[in-house]
Assembly symmetry: D2
């Protein structure tokens, strides 16, 4: 087939570089930005794979991308810099990168939590760039679209945090007491460099409770919604996909109609949030399976008959709406482009 | 290979018949009883498959079983009758079967709930044999072993009920307030006659929330433990396997040590319950994957640091400890045999 | 979210109708055509679901499609009619539809085989519209692009046939003797109405040899390439995806260089065929996993060292390049549009 | 539960040690021997895990085994020594172990091939103990039972070799010309120490052609059957399980009846080989899915109507009949025990 290089589009407006291009999030950034009509990918870094073709590790990009990986220390300037580097490492290298791009989107955890002490508690190390935290706008368009329009430092929330915030945020005033979140996650969340614990033979078909009483993404949900949440996390069979079951209690007087109304207000104009709460059907509640590759976050709920108990459900693709897709959506907003641009893929049924 | 008929063992003491032998639970009863050194399977019924070889639908029994299915109306007498018939149908046919076997073990839901009104609420029909309910002993050796020793009517609990009761029962006095159970279940739970909703293309990789606020097995847990429980259920990728995450609150003053002690007291002499709560490792909490085919129920827990929140986890194979294995274990008890007989298979790692 | 109806695009040039919209191929046609910038979907038929929203059975289209299913007898005119109806049924209903659309694309098997006797041999019934067969152009752009430019009746090949033809076609002059094809297929190939044989519990993890010595798609490969081929087919775990291993013998004097050259000539300008034959890497040969949702057919090969044996490998998504994507590609050609239009999705890694 | 140590059986006759107890084959040896009524496992070595409990890496053995891993240099004497060490390493360490046990069963590849030059060709290194090769009896009871009765050095064939030999061996005289074998293998074959290539995210749902034109197990098949065979190998989704499709040609005059007769003669008295070739049903040909955990090798075939082409199919669990189960079966023969002892598990349906 004819090699379609990343530069083959129609006069892209923006030159994008990716720091950390060899991982799964980096690969999704590449996929989405190469397919974006107004972006040209100019570089993607990898320490280990510098000089090798990008499509050797991201084989889905064969024929679509002629680039090779750039050594991190040879990364030049760009209009946008997207960082898909590990937690802890990002806060060390980001300060030196501030001048290299006009817009920076970070996909690590390092600039998500406002309070460095909370960060230290969840990530086990003191924050090394606490003064920078306040300069970041959360990469969550549904709640920070206005700020994102002129944000030059954007921090994309964690995949489970995005799901939890989108599910619970509109209902915060309707809920009474703490929320127990039961989160399930596919294996890609552990990353392309995951170790023996993630061997196919060990992980296939598993229901691995890896965070029984607390998961660090819960701190982001509390920060954003004000709700007390406690999250258990289990690794399940899927490669991609996050699903949250949020067990809460409705405030006295609140009922299903209030919940529907709250969601409608919050999401009726949102391009990537769908309320899914049907009476019947295999897909009557949010199901990550059909969101594979898409930028949707589906949210739904069920209220206990004759009761105040509510179960709120959210699902998304952890590498798209939970990471790279959210980054592209933020970029579209920042640059005044249509918000869906490059994010049109609707997901597959069946798959 | 030489055909080893079901009668090839060394003078079995007991003749067993299975009503409903073509389904998944029926198949597991056949597998376990054919391998049981003191049991001879004399008949297994199927309306649809009467006259066809049993190993055509249970291909794992090839070479081990020469029987053909018996039409239900031609089922004769036996020492033990095990019923693996659908809910609702069982209560209609059971009264007429009472005389046909000395010991009856029912695996349907029809004789699990003491209160016919509760049954009607969860199963949607009035109970048609309410007078018989009280004559059944729950097929849960860990809590009813003494009664099982001379029980002639045994009702095996639901798969999620067994997991929930074994996980929560010993802790009932340590818990404060209601328990939220997040149950995950493999696809075999829907049965061999499941419809399009369970096609591979629809179910593969799914996280299908099929019972968001209430699952009928919760009634059995409450009945047995006295705890207020509310169960959400999700169908996940595995074929077999049930896992429960039970979110509860410890009573003031109770802590991890009390929980360990309660479990130790309850299960230190139990052959099929293991307490699994390690500090590290992929299998540090109960994982259905390694229980495939085994009669174990693993229970474990984690207590929130500096808190009273506890997550109790249970896992089992829904067709074995959650059904056929439990039935065989009860039979062993009833007949005074070693409790592990015919149930020695430990499960596989990896699989 | 705002409901984006199928009509929300910018003045689509073409009105498309789908006969058989509730199946898996119909669903993919809907997905691709709704996302196509120059097509407006005006109707999709279903006998069973007439009047119900399309997104109830194709949940990935929620928010993207407001249509309901049309009863087959109420299907009106359109510019393009795509048929995703069952084999045998199509040849009965197609003659009456000839006047209802300017362009007709059939995705059934009924107009693929030139010789009605061969059709009768493989499909078990005499052909009921043999006079129409000759009017169809094969929906295989890589071999029939010129004819497709003015074809008004197009018949898309079978999924395994497309893979086999694209893999073997360019090498036909280099091969000596018959080719043994070992085909593996995901579960979606059995369709949305598949029965108990395709229950998740039965099919999960299976390697089901369902056609050991002959598969009907082999007739299409022979018809198109002139090669004698015999195909075994096995159902494997994936939902989507077809992979063929073609075991052949190189003619005397032919070697790896000739094969590479033949593929280069055939495919260097093809937008949807990639030659994948690397020395190392997990994805060094065609792998259906990374083609999920994409319109690519990857072909590759390995030649036995010091020998004439060659293994040719092909992979594609059976519902896209093996069905709906090929149909859209043909439509793009027929209407003079860019061939990639609406088919840009590159597939996912990992998934 | 009460800890049942490995010594809890009724006066085992034989003390067994395992060299290489931490891998997947080592784990299966442990599972089978711990469950064997006449064997006491006295030690299992691991360099990396010496001193740690065995059930930390083989969690299915919890409650069944109290042993810790032994450092290799501290391995003492035993009645039987089973080696589950890597290829190449085994031939270096085995000579020094000859005196430490009366019976030695090797599960590596190092003593399978009679000709050291063939070994060097397939394994890439010269054989370092060529004089020992001739002393080993193949651990294939179906073809070497008589020799095994007094063999003190036994070499278990490769998993695919066992499948291929059992499928093709009885037909060697009926086949004409070379046989093309298409082998499919689950992920456990790569071992517990497999690297990033076997991460769940990479391997899940894959059809990875890892040996397109030649696989080293083919040499064992040729050695044992005299047939020229060429094997392609593909890694598929299952964790366990090997399936071979062997494409051959029947000699003139040979037909289905001859094949059936040949299999009957070969296997009518075999405890672990079943001929599976039915006219209908999901499991009409050998299917690894239902063999999980069992010691069966199922073989079947289909002959092309009006032709001489035959497809022979074999399936087994690569860690049981393809490794540890075969070792135990050989041991049973060598020690004069019933051949099925400790190998009774029939496999599961569904799973």
């Amino acid at each position: 087939m004819p090699e379609l290089t990343a530069t083959a589009g129609a006069c892209p407006a923006i030159r994008a570089a990716i720091a950390g291009g060899a991982g799964y999030v980096g690969g999704e950034l590449l996929r989405l930005l190469i397919g974006h009509p107004l972006v040209e990918v100019v570089a993607a870094t990898s320490t280990r794979l510098a000089g090798r073709r990008i499509d050797t590790v991201h084989p889905n990009l064969r024929g679509l991308c002629d680039l090779t990986f750039t050594a991190p220390d040879r990364l030049g300037e760009a209009d946008v810099l997207l960082l898909a580097l590990p937690h802890r490492q990002t806060m060390d290298v980001l300060p030196a990168m501030l001048g290299t791009a006009k817009h920076i989107v970070d996909l690590s955890a390092d600039f998500r939590l406002r309070d460095p002490a909370v960060y230290a508690g969840y990530y086990g190390v003191p924050h090394t760039a606490p003064d920078l935290i306040g300069a970041f706008v959360p990469g969550l368009p549904e709640r920070h679209r206005a700020e994102l329009k002129d944000a030059d430092l954007i921090s994309v929330p964690g995949c489970m945090a995005t799901a939890g915030i989108l599910a619970l945020g509109p209902l915060a005033h309707l809920l009474d007491g703490p929320v127990e979140i039961d989160a399930r996650s596919g294996s890609s969340g552990a990353g392309a460099g995951a170790g023996e614990a993630n061997l196919h033979a060990e992980r296939s078909g598993a229901m691995r409770v890896f965070a029984p009483t607390s998961h660090r993404h819960q701190a982001e949900i509390t920060q954003e919604t004000g709700l007390a949440v406690r999250m258990s996390a289990t690794g399940v069979e899927a490669v991609r996909g996050v699903q949250l079951l949020c067990h809460g209690t409705l405030a006295a007087g609140a009922g299903e109609a209030n919940v529907r109304q709250a969601y409608r207000r919050a999401y009726q104009d949102e391009p990537f949030v769908r309320v899914v709460a049907k009476r019947r059907g295999n897909y009557r509640f949010p199901e990550p399976k059909i969101l594979l590759g898409s930028n949707f976050c589906d949210v739904g709920f069920a209220v206990e008959p004759q009761g105040r108990r509510i179960v709120v459900i959210a699902a998304l693709d952890n590498l798209v709406k939970g990471a790279a897709g959210a980054a592209v959506q933020c970029l579209n907003i920042r640059l005044g482009w249509p918000e869906r641009l490059g994010l049109e893929f609707p997901g597959l049924h069946p798959n």
